[in-house]
Amino acid sequence: MGNLFVIIISSMLVSNVVLSQFLGICPFLGVSKKIETAAGMGAAVTFVITIASAITYPIYYFILEPAGLDYLETIAFILIIAALVQFIEMVLKKFMPALHASLGVYLPLITTNCAVLGVALNNVTDYAEESFGYGFACSVVRGLFTAIGFLIAIVIMASIRERCEYNDVPKSFQGTPIVLVTASLMAIAFCGFAGLV
């Protein structure tokens, strides 16, 4: 239990997926203009990463590793994630049209979000030696809280950017540079969590 708590804190804050591992930078910079869209993207990523880490771990543990095919993990995982995203989109469209209407735009973009593949690969390298139940729990918890870390980072970023709109930014720093400076300051703030674990 204590170990799971450490995983929660470290994946959400200490090694935040965007600000210290640099995964998922493209949506972090591209979709953070408004709080609503940022929150939508964050929610969609949370959804996909959690399900993807719950599916990829058993596939690695029960199929790839016993068959000695663990070097195929990259190919297998990217295909699983691409199929999963399509599948989630169809399921949402059929059974939860309201949720699909709010998350639908972001789902196709998530296939190439490196955070999803990165978390899946990190899970199997870190927890492949554990017993199945424990490794599975760790993977899902890590997936969920990594994604929540992404949600936190992108929502904070969007709210700062909304305020930046009204600021007098030097001409050459308008656009992407000021966003990157903001990200840098946020990363410094998140470095402060390093002492927690």
Binding site: V31, I78, I178
Partner: protein, 277 residues
């Protein structure tokens, strides 16, 4: 041969993936803590890019249009696995330094972007040179950023230290430094008005950021169609409204004219009456 040198120039300078197109930001920020890591990452990506461009260009007539993205992903992922195993065998130190970012070359936007935008539509030789050009451009970008961060952060270039320990700014090899260095480099580009994805003005309010070069989404094409249809409908409606307004104005004018005519005749009649009196 002319088109090949043109592809090389296009990749390295005109459409440089790091500085001009701002693609593949994750590895750009993550592995550039030293120049050698940047160079290694750039060359690994180049290898994958050249091989996948070659393969996709060869297969371009065989791959059905509807499943092209999954097909591209499988091709790219295979070459990434090959590169990963080669690095593990022959350059274990680089492999451990780059870590998870080697398999993540699969989701690098540059590779899928080139496959989709160039290799799937062009013959083999230009596609290979396109891959080489783009790859070298990416390598150049990563190495530049790596050199900046390494000089500032650990006072060295390619591992050769020339600034004493006390003057290192460790901040620049840590995560926040990556964002800051990239921010200053793009600001410099804006200042010098060099072509870049960052200084072409706002990209619109589309939820995805409107950055189609980075995106392999399949529903976007449909969305774009819908958007265009909507725009056309809006335009038509506007034109119709304008026509109606014009017609109304015309009618009003005519009515006014008639009214005026009437008034005139009345006035004339009144004048005539007055004269008679």
């Amino acid at each position: 041969m002319n088109s090949c040198t043109e592809r090389l120039k296009n990749g390295i300078i005109t459409e440089n993936p790091t500085f001009v197109m701002m693609l593949g930001m994750c590895p750009t920020l993550a592995v550039t803590s030293s120049a050698i890591n940047g160079l290694g990452m750039g060359l690994s990506t180049t290898a994958v890019l050249v091989m996948s461009n070659l393969m996709i260009s060869l297969l371009r007539k065989l791959i059905p249009d509807k499943v092209r993205i999954p097909a591209f992903i499988v091709v790219v992922a295979s070459f990434v696995t090959v590169v990963q195993l080669l690095l593990e065998a022959y350059l274990p130190s680089l492999n451990s330094a780059l870590g998870v970012y080697i398999p993540l070359i699969v989701v690098n936007c540059i590779i899928l972007g080139r496959a989709e935008a160039y290799a799937s539509k062009n013959p083999v030789l230009p596609s290979v040179f396109d891959g080489i050009g783009m790859g070298l451009g990416f390598t150049f970008g990563l190495t530049c950023i790596g050199i900046c961060r390494e000089v500032l952060g650990s006072g060295a270039i390619f591992g050769k230290t020339f600034i004493p320990d006390n003057f290192h700014i460790t901040f620049f090899v840590l995560a926040p430094g990556a964002f800051l260095v990239l921010s200053f480099l793009t600001a410099l580009q804006n200042k010098l008005k060099m072509p870049s994805a960052t200084n072409v003005g706002a990209q619109g309010d589309i939820a995805c950021g409107g950055n189609c070069a980075q995106c392999i989404g399949t529903s976007c094409a449909a969305n774009k169609g819908i958007l265009e249809a909507e725009r056309a409908a809006e335009k038509a409606a506007k034109a119709k409204a304008a026509k109606e307004a014009a017609a109304k104005a015309k009618a009003a004018k005519e009515a006014a004219k008639k009214q005026e005519g009437k008034e005139k005749s009345q006035v004339a009649a009144a004048a005539a009456k007055e004269k008679e009196d």
